[in-house]
Amino acid sequence: GESVGLHLPTLSVQEGDNSIINCAYSNSASDYFIWYKQESGKGPQFIIDIRSNMDKRQGQRVTVLLNKTVKHLSLQIAATQPGDSAVYFCAEEKNAGNMLTFGGGTRLMVKP
């Protein structure tokens, strides 16, 4: 069936390094992709999104890359900080915004 999934369940990086979190999706009809950050005891928090007519979008310290050819999505965090430690979810949206389909999540651990 159609799904959005993550390659690595846990990613450990040194403070100050760059982080890359990857996600694969299988529904080529999806046209909207979002990255969420979830800290302990909190709900998912929007980080950045990208539509299928783009292949790159940048925010503050974060960049999302979309490769439609291989159905791959990635989140890059520059100069990773301890406050970036959280679980990161990718999600796709279809049916004109009816619902989000989430991947399984990647835990990012930042070592001081």
Binding site: G43, P44, F46, F89, G97, N98, L100, F102, G105
Partner: protein
Amino acid sequence: EAGVTQFPSHSVIEKGQTVTLRCDPISGHDNLYWYRRVMGKEIKFLLHFVKESKQDESGMPNNRFLAERTGGTYSTLKVQPAELEDSGVYFCASRQIQGAEAFFGQGTRLTVV
């Protein structure tokens, strides 16, 4: 501006009991969604309201789950009777229009024992 709020934050109930979760969306957001994450798995869609109408309830697992949004403001999700496999974190999200950013509440952690 207040965000999406959910009550209670935690609930522990016995199998067979009833629990009602509440979600207050951001004021003015017509679109309200319920999701849940069980046993460390991915977050799964349950249903979507547009104002007081159910737009899509394809994710509701069975008829033990009943969601309402009377008046198009806050929403409740009732589980009756609760089963062990219903344990998990239930999230509510809202957004003003489809395609816009969705804001999530902090979730309700439900434990059925």
